[in-house]
Structures are given as C-alpha cells and as structure tokens.
C-alpha cells in the first residue's frame, strides 16, 4: 500500500490506497494438523486511527476447499511385507516409490488413490486466534458444518466473501491468517485476501 503523509484526509487516504490482493493455492496433508500460513501487510495502517481503519477500509477473505491434494494412502500386497498401506506419493505410479519392476515384484494399483480428497473441518485463524465461528457463514454456503468448513472430505466448498475487517489487528502492519485442516482429509485450499 502506498505510504501516505499524515496530513492527508481519511477520504484521501482511502481513495489513494488501491486494493491489494494476495492469493494462492496450498496443498494440505491429511495429518489432521495441517496449518497453512498466509502473511500479508497493511502498509498504511499506521496512518489510520483504529476507528478510521474500521470505518473506511475492509479486509475480505475467500477460501475454497478443492480436490486433488497430495495423493492419499493405498493398500496393496507386498511380496515380503504382505498387505500394507502407505501414502501414494507425488510421482507417477511405476516410476517412483516401489515402482513396478524394481519393486520386488509388487505393483501399486491405479485405483484407490485418494486424489478426490477435499479439506475437511477447516478452521480460519487470524493473528493467532480461531475466528472460524466468529466469522461464521454469512453467505449461507453449503459445506459449512456449523463450526468449520468442509463437512465430508469429498464435496468441494467455498466460503464466499468473508469480511474479516474486525479481526484484523488495526495497529500493526503485519497480519497472519492460518487455515487449519483438522479433518484429516487433505486436499487443496485456494485463498484470496483483499484489502480495499
């Protein structure tokens, strides 16, 4: 954000600071403790009084839970170990972990790869505090469980635009959002932060 002189009016500050967008995609594991951090900064925040910031600026967040995270576990037979389960890895079957041919005579089935997993029971933490239920589901979106995002680990979800202005620290420039997947599903999270 532009660094503005202290003697500018609040309106001028508002008009001269353009929207800032921070977005990205994160793959999340299925450990149940995956926490993805999003740092962003509101450079001009020190030129506002906290009240002015809350009155004239807004910070919005939108998060989507999508399929195809890290491939999940498969169960298969192994010539010496017997039936066992392990994660299918980020390589093509037959070329990576326990490849068919060099893998002691065992191969990985193509099916059973949990590429359909969607993040489940995902929480939104802002500056170290869980704000999931404080923010709630103002857009009445499906897959809101009543306490977090992603109800079943298979259906994709979208929070819609969430106004998180009141949960931003309006006295410091550094802000942190954490997306915590607690449902042990894994998958992909797409996030967008807008400062307008």
């Amino acid at each position: 954000m532009a660094l503005l002189a202290d003697n500018e009016t609040v309106y001028a500050k508002f008009m001269n600071n353009r929207p800032l967008c921070v977005n990205g995609i994160r793959l999340v594991g299925d450990s149940g403790s995956a926490s993805e951090r999003i740092y962003f900064h509101i450079m001009d925040i020190r030129t506002y009084t906290p009240a002015d910031f809350n009155n004239y600026r807004h910070v919005y967040l939108r998060v989507r839970g999508l399929v195809f995270g890290r491939p999940g576990n498969i169960t298969h037979g192994h010539p010496s170990v017997g039936n066992h389960t392990h994660p299918v890895l980020l390589v093509s079957i037959g070329t990576g972990f326990c490849p068919s041919g060099s893998g002691g005579g065992h191969s990985h089935p193509a099916d059973g790869i949990a590429t359909t997993a969607v993040p489940k029971n995902t929480e939104i933490w802002i500056n170290g505090t869980d704000r999931t239920t404080d923010i709630g589901d103002p857009n009445t979106m499906p897959e809101w469980t009543g306490s977090d995002w992603g109800s079943d680990g298979t259906t994709e979800w979208d929070t819609g635009l969430l106004d998180i202005t009141t949960y931003i620290n309006n006295t410091t420039e550094e802000q942190l959002i954490e997306l915590k997947e607690t449902g042990s599903s894994g998958g992909r999270l797409n996030y967008e932060v807008y400062i307008v």
Partner: protein, 196 residues
C-alpha cells in the same frame, strides 16, 4: 503497477501508481543448496522514471518468514526387498517411521524432519547477494550476522520489513530475488514483496 502517461507529473505518478504485492510460500529441500527465484517487474521504470526520482519516492519492501512444515523431500532409505532407493517422503510417512502403516520402510532420516526450520537463508537480488548489506534493521531474533536468516534450524524467524529499494536497479523493469537455504535443514519460507 499502473502504466502512467508521460505528461503526468512525478507527483501524480507517485499517487496514481498502485501498490504491487507478490507473495508465496516455498519449500526448501534440506540439501543446503535449495533456492527459489521469483521475478517481479516495475513497469514504469525506464522510460518514465529517472533513477533518482524512483529512489526518492518509491519503496520496494520485502518480508521473509521461516517456519517448519517442509513438504515432501526426497529421502534415501532401505526397502526390505528393493534395497536402497529414494522417493519423496511425506510428513505423515515420516511420522510413521518404522512402526506405522509402512512397517518395513526405515523412514526417519533426521535431516528430513518436517519440523525443521530454514537455516542460513540468504537474500540475493538481481544476481548479487545482499543478505548482509540489508542486515537486520528490525533487530529480529535468529539472524546470524555471518550466515543470514535462521540461526539454528529449530526456531521460527521473521525478518520484519526490509527496505530493499537501494538494491533494485531503478532503470530497468525486470528484477528477480533468489532465496537460498544454505544450512541444509529444509522447511518453508514465505515471502511478501511490496512495491509502494
């Protein structure tokens, strides 16, 4: 950055140029030679700006964060029937060690522990190392005055706001920053770059 017409005053150029934000999270592989480069462009440099004005009125700011949770590094280990082989080791697989869901695979190379934090991270700008030139202006902890950011591989760190304007060539639009992890730990680095 907005593309500005040549008949605007410097003042209006300053006021009318939007802040540019680039951010992402990168995973260090723990080899000690892991590096990530990101490119950015200052559109109005060159024809529309002279260097002295740019340095006087614009700022290029960088924030870095080092924390744990490195992705899926390659791990060499012994397989009961395959023998030595290498594949990406996921955090959950790492955690399983030798007694989890993958009983006969000796995962557990300490150097690939997903709890480690990037160590001795250097900042290179347009091909030149600037780590010590930039230094630690915010007196943050876990800055090594010889080797850069992250002093022990276990404590998370953040640089705070680093003004790198002086190290960005104001006469060309094409720039790149390389983040190098030389401590051989791994982990994640998040960067936030602002052109204000």
């Amino acid at each position: 950055m907005a593309l500005i017409t040549t008949n605007e005053t410097y003042g209006s150029k300053f006021m009318n140029n939007r802040p540019l934000s680039i951010s992402d999270e990168v995973v260090m592989d723990g080899t000690g030679t892991s590096e990530h480069t990101f490119y950015f462009h200052i559109m109005e440099t060159g024809a529309l700006w002279d260097g002295s004005f740019y340095v006087s009125f614009r700022q290029v700011l960088l924030f870095l964060y080092g924390y744990a949770g490195g992705g899926y590094p390659e791990e060499s280990h012994v397989h009961p029937s395959v023998g030595n082989h290498t594949h990406p080791c996921t955090p959950s697989e790492y955690a399983a060690g030798t007694s989890g869901t993958n009983p006969s695979h000796g995962h557990g190379n300490a150097g690939l522990d997903p709890t480690v934090v990037p160590k001795h991270v250097e900042i290179w700008i347009d091909g030149t190392e600037r780590t010590l030139d930039i230094g630690n202006p915010n007196s943050k902890t876990h800055y090594d005055t010889v080797d850069g950011w992250g002093d022990d591989g276990t404590n998370e760190w953040s640089t705070g706001r680093l003004d790198i304007t002086d190290y960005v060539d104001p006469t060309v639009q094409d720039h790149y920053i390389t983040i190098k992890e030389t401590g051989g730990e791994g982990g994640r680095v998040q960067y936030c770059l602002y052109i204000t």
